[in-house]
Symmetry: C2
Subunit: 308 residues, 2 copies
Amino acid sequence: MGKVLVFGHKNPDTDTITSAISYAYLKQQLGMDAEAVRLGIVSNETAYALEHFGFEAPRLIEKAAPEAAQVILVDHNEKQQSVDDLSDVQVIEVIDHHRIANFETNDPLYYRAEPVGCTATILNKLYKENGVEIPKNIAGLMLSAIVSDSLLFKSPTFTEEDRRAAEELAAIADVDAREYGLAMLKAGADLSDKSLEDLIALDAKEFVMGNAKVEIAQVNAIDVNDVMNRQAELEALLNDVIAQKGLDLFLFAVTDILNNDSVVLVLGKEAERASSAFNVALDNNTAKLTGVVSRKKQIVPVLTEALK
Amino acid sequence: MGKVLVFGHKNPDTDTITSAISYAYLKQQLGMDAEAVRLGIVSNETAYALEHFGFEAPRLIEKAAPEAAQVILVDHNEKQQSVDDLSDVQVIEVIDHHRIANFETNDPLYYRAEPVGCTATILNKLYKENGVEIPKNIAGLMLSAIVSDSLLFKSPTFTEEDRRAAEELAAIADVDAREYGLAMLKAGADLSDKSLEDLIALDAKEFVMGNAKVEIAQVNAIDVNDVMNRQAELEALLNDVIAQKGLDLFLFAVTDILNNDSVVLVLGKEAERASSAFNVALDNNTAKLTGVVSRKKQIVPVLTEALK
């Protein structure tokens, strides 16, 4: 068996980057020649976590097939979110916590998905099931993933299992989860060095819903007006992306990490169907979604149902 | 949470029926109102196992949505192999050991697939992970599933994990695995009460490979000539199915359970591509595939690659 690449989705977030590192380490302990890699730029939030626990970012790859015949996907499964040449390699494992769609294999594989808030929570189980001890600095990365995906334990995706995993990991990492977590989120919500182009691409995911091609991008902010004050420029950029990719809908969500609401900017020919799905009227293409912080649990299922 | 139906694939085999029973029992112990049901007639082999360990066959259903909002799939995931109204219910869990294809959800779920020979081997782990003891008669059913899927431990799909599970389950069930297993396989290979219509439908599965619609049926026999002596009648029936369902390929495999080879009858417009994929020439639409006993590991991947 040659080298196996382990990676998360494009536009990587903290769970995707840290899960690639944490699972590659576990597989190495079990004798596999596994290497964590990434498919895009590292966010400020992730960079904070990596530096805090003494890691370099994994190596960036454009394609997988030139260097490996087999890959492991973490934190995603939909092919449009994965490496471009996914169909040229064999997926031997998937560890994920999202819906399953646009995913297909020729052969049986190990697929472990659980409806929890974070891939790291599943990895915490897999370390136990395989009897491998989690190193202190990897526990710190895994805790960072849970903090990130749950917006410091407040998202509706955050389950009892995530809570237990976060407690265990904070103890191993020997950090105060709330103090460290808030510092990490603030580092991620510091948008001062980001262009608008960066913001709409940083955490963007594509979906196919019914016959509609949909992109949903999300950015965390301390003050949503830092972003929304530049709505005209934003719209021009989003409309370019819509034209370029032939999208039917682009939903751009700016999430207020202190108050746990999101303001969304909704463009494309399915904008009306999208906003009615949330029972809100668009005012100048925008709406406030009260209490909505989770793309996976509060946005994707609603749109999927509306567009099917 | 209302009742949850637990079922395997259409044209159920022993793993599918016994896994529905075994997993529904586990979920009941964990507090879920789970009921095992089935999507088709029970084979002679499965009937032998059920009777031996004191079970009735699960209830037959045509549709799921009229009686449950949520379902659990065992031993399959491809929608054309599942209940007809699958899109009207929510799949909350899948426990499987096949490739993943034509499967999609709106929401995150628990999905546990492992590249082992039998669903029962995964269920054996899940009982342990959940700290639930396997009752003696359920262990007997789970052992039956491993015997069936591995043709008494001889199929290339049979892994070290399956071997360990079979040993553990035989001990709990307190049976001699080889003696019991051979008796069960022979009960299943007794085709004397079956019409040809039964034979081609008993263990038939549909697949989409590339743009081709493919059906692969498999039947176990002590003497393949019991079936192949009636080739003309068989071809007429298979051609009817091909026309009815608009298939591009029907591969009917008769597997010699004592010598571990299969004779295949291959019809449809992709028949030539199918036979060349196996490096055999069709003689009067048939060929012998030496050492081939596993649809999943030795037939499906070869055809998927050839037709993509």
